[in-house]
Amino acid sequence: MDVTTAARALIGDTLGFHLIFILFGVSLPAIISVAEGIGIWKKQPWLINLARSWSKALVILFIAGAVSGTIVSLQFSLLWPNFTSFAGKVVGISFALEGFAFLVEALFLSVYMLSWDKFKPVKHWLISLPVVLGSVTSAFFITTVNAWMNTPRGFKLDANGNPIDINTRQAVFNPSSGHEIAHSILSYFFATLLVLLAIYAWKNWRTKIALNVRPRLDLLMKYLAIATLVFGMLVVLSGDRSGKALAKDQPYKLAAAEGLYQTQNGAPLEIGGIVSDNQIKGAIKIPKLLSFLATGHFDGKVTGLNDVPKDERPPVVVHYFFDGMVAIGMITVFVPAFYLISSKWKKSWMNKKLMMISLVFCGVLGVLGAELGWMLTEFGRQPFVIRGVMRTTDAATTSQAALHLGYLLPLLYLVLFVVTYKALKKIFKPMEALE
């Protein structure tokens, strides 16, 4: 393994691991705050207890997320010094403001946890607001950096390739910022709600539910399914915006995701198939659909890989990530919708084993979908780390120490994941609040 591959494996492992926890870190504070707020407003103590129970899980997830986040910040500088050196000059402000947001979130989360039973309900709920503010703005700022890596703006290059004439506003609010922020943050909420729904579906399926608990469990699952459906629809809408923006600003990524070789009007959408020799074979082709999805017109022009220089083409393997993400999106919107429909018109189906298994499955798929989305954006930008400006091979460290770390960290993450899961299982009692 060479140093660049080791550095790629390391940051990939760390971010892949970190993403699982930030999904919850970004969205769970807001969900908890809403539950507690409604509980206080409507005088429903079980909702306040529910918020308390979820907050215990949040703290455990936060510990794993905070440590992987700290390591991400170290790895950016130590494994990708040329990237961070360049990016620091142009979008360093986003890193800095993300730091402030993280500080606000961490501090107020500690206060929030310490002050259960110590502050009056409204005061305690007010403490949750800075946690929500910190978590969402933290995600906002760090996503602007990723967006800038996809569509770098706000600078010129001097003769030595250094950034000059920096316009921070243009860099931070680059063409990809809006849709990437919206799509990723909405996806985090969607995935978290799917996981919460899956947890209660699992309990509904695997444990005997007491008669006094049943109405609350059904009500909670219904609320969660409604929220999941709302966020699912928003994710679909923002995904459509992202697809159109991709066709305009990152056509190479869309071409790779669809294995579209020739630039053409009325391009077909390819579903499934096998990627071989950087081409998709055996896919189901739906005529003109890609053009419609990318441009809004069935005869719209979609750029193919032939218009991208050979040494700048992303790997077509991203087709799997794209298809996987879209398929997961469709399944995970359909299942909660079906659950809601059955709760209204076919109550006997509502708590059936198959329905519960499907909801549990959706929880796992939600996290997997977010991971695939992130992999699509990262692999789809290759061979560049900053599209068109800095190649991945030029961004990595020259230190051989990366090689040793490359073997050790994934193992440690695996252990940390198992321990986090065990801690969650021990501390987080999802049914407690419903009893």
Binding site: I60, I63, A64, A66, V67, G69, T70, I71, S73, Q75, F76, S77, L78, L79, P81, N82, T84, S85, F86, G88, K89, G92, I93, F95, A96, L97, G99, F100, F102, L103, V104, A106, L107, F108, L109, S110, V111, M113, L114, S115, K118, P130, I166, T168, T397, T398, S399, A401, A402, H404, L405, L408, L409, L412, Y413, L416, V419, K422, A423, K426
Partner: protein, 298 residues
């Protein structure tokens, strides 16, 4: 005072705050290792994890303000900081095991103490490289600084525990503190003369003055037991020494190698950073006040 100086102070302060917090946590766990039923157990909480933000802030600010020096830092210091990275993951594992899986075994506490020492020491070793231009084992100056860092952490930790629970006195804190301050206050300036680096004199003289004062305070307490708030003196020195060493290192960012002027990435972010600080400071002040109040009540 230039923006570069302000940035140096801010970055050093962040690492200093992290080191002091880690030291206190280290003191708590050492007290628990000595006496598992100690009353300091109530201070042993996962809430200390919040102090990770100082590390993130320190490192992010370094990466932003001195981004031009990152390729060199990475090449020279990755192997040193690998220890901190591994220790951070191991510490998170142990935190989860101790606090959420109730695995309060001696082995876990020992591992926790080791990680709590390893993370700041790994960063201190990186700082020593930047201050001397050599790895810590390559110069007398570097070794003296490393031992000062270790003894400093032990002193601050043990003094904090003693302050919280006076009956929990661990070995001779005053003696440990004397060793620390002797190294920091006397050996470093002397050795710096031998290393032929023209450090800025004012910060080093200030540091020596502070540490010699602390040294005499520790000796006085050791011999006559006056009512001296030694933990405050130790904490202050622990916080200001990284700042003074960074300022003494000027005009270098990495001694003998990289000038601050060539490491500095430009002041484009001053306005934004100030806005960020202005927006969040009132919120953070409220947060820290509430946090402190709740911790004290606990």
């Amino acid at each position: 005072m230039s923006f570069v100086d302000v940035a140096l102070i801010f970055i050093s302060l962040m690492f200093g705050l992290y080191a002091v917090a880690s030291s206190i946590e280290l003191g708590i766990v050492l007290a628990l290792l000595k006496n598992p039923k100690s009353s300091v157990a109530k201070l042993f909480t996962p809430l200390w994890e919040v102090t990770n933000v100082f590390l993130v802030f320190g490192f992010t600010a370094t990466a932003i303000v001195f981004s031009s020096a990152l390729p060199k830092l990475s090449h020279k210091l990755l192997s040193t900081l690998v220890i901190a990275i591994v220790a951070l993951v191991v510490r998170a594992l142990v935190v989860l095991k101790i606090f959420y899986l109730n695995s309060q075994s001696k082995k876990n506490r020992q591992l926790f103490a080791l990680c709590n020492l390893a993370i700041p020491i790994s960063f201190a070793a990186a700082g020593i490289y930047m201050f001397t231009g050599q790895y810590f084992w390559q110069s007398f100056n570097g070794l003296a600084l490393l031992f000062s860092a270790i003894f400093g952490m032990l002193s601050i930790g043990m003094l904090a525990v003693e302050r919280a629970e006076p009956q929990e006195k661990l070995v001779s804190v005053e003696l440990t503190m004397s060793v620390w301050l002797l190294g920091l206050g006397s050996i470093v300036p002397f050795a710096s003369m031998l290393s032929h680096i023209h450090y800025q004199k004012a910060p080093l003289i200030t540091l020596s003055f502070l540490t010699i004062l602390g040294f005499f305070a520790a000796l006085l307490k050791l011999t006559t037991k006056p009512n001296l708030a030694l933990w405050k003196i130790a904490g202050t020195i622990g916080l200001v020494s990284p700042i003074l060493l960074a300022l003494a290192n000027r005009p270098y960012f990495i001694a003998k190698d990289t000038l601050l002027s060539s490491a500095y990435s430009g002041g484009a972010y001053v306005g934004f950073f100030v806005i960020g600080a202005l927006v969040t400071t009132p919120l953070l002040l409220i947060g820290f006040r509430l946090f402190w109040q709740l911790m004290r009540d606990n």
